[in-house]
Structure formats: C-alpha cells, structure tokens
C-alpha cells in the first residue's frame, strides 16, 4: 500500500468518526451514559425520603430477593418480589408463544400473497406497530371491559349469561401484550418466510410428506432465524413492559417495570430500583447476545 493510499484511508476513517460524533454525543449523553449512573446508584445506600446517600452498600442488590424485617432487622426471602418476577417471566413467555401461534399463519399468509398485494398487507401490519402503544392498550381495555365488545358478542350468542370480568389482572395483561407486540413477531417471520424457497415444499410433497411433516421438518427449521428474532423482539419489551400492566393490571398486578417505578416513587428505595433496572438490562443483554451468537453461527453454516 502506498503512503498516499494509507493517508486516504486514515482521512476516511477520521471523517467517519467526525460525522458520527454529534449523534454519539447525544446518544451517550442522553441514552447510554446515564445507565452508568444507575449502576452506581444500585451500590449506594437508600435515603430516608427517596434519593441516595453516598455510602457503598449492597443492600440494593440484596433487596431484589430478600427484604429486611422492620422489627428483627433480619433479611428474609421476599415472596412478594418473587411473585412479581414470576408473573413478569411467565406472562412474557406466554405472550411470546401466543404471538408466534397467531403470527406465523399471518406472516405465511402475507408472504404467499401475489407480489402486488403483499405491500398492502404488510402496511396493514405496520400501522398498528407504529400506533401509540397507550392507545392500543386502551383499545384492548375498551374491548375487554364489562360492557365491551367481547362480552357483548358472547352475551348475544348466549354463550354466557352474565358479563365476564376480564379486566385488571394477569389475563388482561397477557391479552394486551399479545395484542400490542404481535406485529413485532409477524415482521421478522415474514422476512424469513419471504426468503423461503417454495420449491422445497414441492420436493417435500413429492417425497410423500404430509402437510404436518412439511411444516415441521421443512418450513420451521428453515425459518428458525425469523422465529428467534421475533421471539426476542417480543420477549424483551414484554419483560420490561410498563404501560400495558399499568393500564390493564389495575395497579395491583405489577410487572418488573411497574415494580421499578414503585421503588422510585412510593417505595423510596432508589438503590433497589436501580439494581432492578440493572437486572432487567442484564437479562435483556444476555438474550440479545444469545441471539447474535446464534445468528452468526447460522450465517457461518451457510
């Protein structure tokens, strides 16, 4: 390589950095950087009326699983916290599974439309995706309430005699999250199915495979990267959900997101809130790393 070329490469790299700098400053200052403060706060002592005292303490992290008995000052396992974690994880998993069950046929349907129609169907999936999460959650609230559409139809059909009480609880949260996160499952599934070579189906059927066998042995293994991408895109925001459980859980049925808020507002235990935020961040990062590793391994295999 000639010196001139080397200089050109170096200038190009420098310009790349300089052009990206304003975005980086904004992102580090108002998005990534503040996460470090949360990490620091998780190792400080709790102030009496919220805030922190600048003394090192691991009580924030310990408080995730244990709580201090007010009278005996002993640390005991906090059942209430475990209930919240279990609710968060189980509802997020259920949401992921159900968005897949509903999303796969939908993505398949879109991908097998004639090309001119495909953009229209995709657009119909993306509109709810870009629509305000709060509005969509509120719409589910409208449908599930006592006088809502579901009860109205079931009553008219004579399936039930008294309106079902579906709102404010894990069921409503689950329905709400499935509704709001469904597009996040459909879009990556569509991308994977769109690349799928339909000739493989012919080959499968020619070799006397049943429809079920073709689905299980041919389609699903090939679109697996899409399934994993969709599952992570749904699971991650579900686990950190704040709006949906707040609106549909009725205040008592918290998930981790609401539990974190509680520590900063009423609970006055900022280090615990900070530690919970870090825990959530760690779980999400691990999920993403697993995905990246899987995606890379998949790419290297062809």
């Amino acid at each position: 390589m000639s010196p001139a070329e080397e200089t050109a490469i170096r200038t190009s790299a420098r310009n790349g950095w300089l052009l990206s700098l304003p975005a980086l400053v904004l992102l580090i200052g108002a998005a990534a950087g503040p996460l470090l403060i949360v990490l620091v706060y998780s190792f400080l002592s709790s102030g009496q009326y919220g805030g922190v005292i600048w003394e090192f303490s691991t009580n924030g992290w310990r408080g995730i699983l244990w709580s201090k008995d007010i009278f005996t000052e002993e640390w005991v396992l906090a059942d209430a916290h475990l209930t919240i974690f279990w609710r968060s994880v189980s509802l997020s998993l259920l949401t992921t599974i159900f968005t897949f069950i509903l999303g796969f046929p939908t993505a398949w349907f879109i991908a097998t439309r004639p090309p001119q129609q495909r953009a229209m169907w995709l657009f119909l999936i993306t509109i709810p995706f870009w629509t305000n999460l709060l509005i969509r959650t509120y719409a589910i609230n409208e449908v599930l309430r006592k006088e809502g559409l579901v009860n109205l139809v079931l009553l008219k059909l004579g399936v039930i005699e008294t309106p079902l009480d579906m709102l404010y609880g894990p069921f409503a949260i689950f329905v709400g999250m499935t509704y709001v996160y469904l597009p996040l499952m459909v879009l990556p599934l569509f991308a994977a199915i769109d690349r799928f070579d339909m000739k493989l189906l012919e080959a499968g059927y020619d070799l006397y495979a049943s429809r079920w066998q073709v689905l299980r042995r041919v389609i699903l293994p090939i679109v697996k990267p899409g399934i994993i991408a969709g599952s992570i895109l749904v699971f991650v925001p579900s686990l950190g959900a704040y709006v949906t459980p707040r609106v549909l859980g009725g205040g008592k049925q918290m998930m981790i997101g609401n539990f974190i808020e509680l520590q900063f507002l009423q609970g006055k235990n900022w280090p615990l809130g900070a530690a919970l935020s870090m825990l959530l961040l760690i779980i999400v990062t691990v999920a993403l790393l697993v995905y990246v590793r899987y995606a890379n391994r998949d790419a290297s295999h062809g």
Partner: protein, 267 residues
C-alpha cells in the same frame, strides 16, 4: 401462479387464521374510534352520532397545552435526530470499514435494545441532578431525551437511501471541479432528501407516541398528550379520551401513509 394451482404453499387454516388476526388487530381500534363519536355520556351505551367529545377535548385547556407540548417536542426531536442521523449515516456508509464502526452501530441502535423503563429511570436520575445543580428547568430535557431515542428511527431510512445511491453522480460532480461542499449541497443532499424526510417522519411519530421516558423525565405541568392520557386512564374514563386518541391516531396514519408512499416511489 403455477404454485397456487398446485396448492403447495397452502397450509390448511392459515388464511382463515390470518384474516382473523387482521380483524382482531383492527377491531379494538375501530371500537375506540367509534365510541369517540358516541353521543351518550356512558361508555356502555350507544347514543347516536355526535362530535361533542371532540368539542369537549378541544375546549379542554389541559388537552390543548399537552398537544402543543407534544408537537413542539416532536418537531425539535425530529429535526435534531434527523440532522445528526444524516451525518452519522454519511459517516458510516459508502466508505471503507474503519476501526470503531461497530461501536458506532451499537450506540446508534442502543435505544432499540435497552428497555425503555431503564432509560427512563436513568434519565430521571441524571436530569434530576442537573436540574438541582443548575436550577435550569423546561422542555429542553424532554427534547434532549426524545432526540436521542429517535436517532435509530431516523438513521435507518436515511442509511437505506444512501446505500442505494449511485456514486457516479458525485464522482461526475467532482470531475467537473465542484468543491466537496458543492457536491454535497447540489448532488448528495437532493438525492438523499426523500430518505431524510422519511426518517424525520418516523422520528416525529416515535416522539409523539412516547409514554414511558416522558412520564419519568417530565416535571410537574409538563404533560404531553400521551402522559396526560395515561394520567386520565387512572381516573375515570370518558369518551373524551377516545376523541383525543382518535386525533392522535389520525396524525400517525396520515404520516405513515405519506412515509409508505415516499419510500415506495424509489423502486
């Protein structure tokens, strides 16, 4: 359509289920919109068509103020994030891979990966400290926060546009003795414009819709439309909320349709 006549790609029940999913996606939204035109005070009974709730929402100063605030923040956030995202896109595409490029990508996409509640808490702490130390208050904090998380949304369409652009025109301009700045101003920028408009629109929608980060960063009396609605949902619900939601929904749908048409024209 040889494939279709063989029914190879048909899987039994899939089409029915997909249509059901589309219905289920849109029915709740339609119900919400329908009830905004309900004459009855009760959310339970249909009392005929009326625009009363829109009039009520329009007369509500809280709604008006929140709307103004939302629009101001969204305009600033869209403008700022589009400018810095355009620069970043120019810096990270169409050049030899350089050291630290992955770091830049990770940073740009970071707002998409970190749970909103965690960023919200982090910004609440940071801005709280700054507010206390400097005594400076105002919407600037919300604009900063929104500008940051809008960057990846503005970046994606701009980068896509850049990658699809032909280098030849810029080379031609340089051959004709245009200065780098003239080339950028007269050739690159006009070609890039549709991508920038698309990016700005996405950023605008994302800022307009944000609930969680705004809810934690805002000071008293700084409600945006979504946080105002969240506060109302806790109390009693009247079709006024439906009317506000419908208006917000209309803005989103109009912008998205424009985005859809804008990015489609390309091919």
């Amino acid at each position: 359509m040889a494939e279709r006549s063989f029914h190879v790609a048909r899987l039994p029940g899939f089409a029915t289920m997909a249509v059901a999913v589309f219905l289920a996606l849109y029915l709740p939204i339609f119900t919400l919109v329908a009830y905004s035109f309900n004459a009855s005070v009760s959310v339970a009974v249909w009392g005929g068509f009326s625009l009363d709730w829109y009039a009520k929402a329009w007369a509500n100063t809280q709604v008006k103020d929140a709307t103004m605030r939302s629009l101001i923040i969204a305009c600033f956030a869209a403008a700022i994030s589009t400018v810095v995202a355009t620069m970043a896109a120019l810096g990270t595409t169409r050049r030899r891979a350089f050291r630290g490029q992955t770091f830049i990508y990770v940073m740009i996409n970071q707002p998409l990966m970190v749970p909103e509640i965690v960023t919200a808490v982090a910004l609440m702490i940071l801005f709280g400290v700054i507010k206390q130390a400097t005594g400076i208050h105002g919407l600037g904090y919300l604009v900063l926060a929104h500008s940051a998380f809008c960057i990846p949304f503005a970046y994606l369409p701009i980068r896509a546009r850049l990658e699809g652009m032909d280098n030849a025109l810029e080379t031609a301009a340089a051959d004709l003795y245009a200065t780098p700045w003239q080339t950028f101003r007269r050739v690159t920028l006009p070609l890039l414009a549709p991508g920038m408009v698309a990016g700005a629109m996405l950023a605008f929608v994302i800022s307009l819709d944000d609930v969680v980060i705004t809810e934690f960063v805002k000071s008293g009396g700084e409600d945006t439309l979504p946080t105002y609605m969240l506060g109302q949902l806790r109390r009693q619900m009247t079709p006024e909320i439906n009317a506000v939601s419908t208006m917000l929904l209309a803005v989103t749908v109009v912008l998205l349709t424009a985005f859809f048409l804008l990015t489609r024209k390309k091919d």
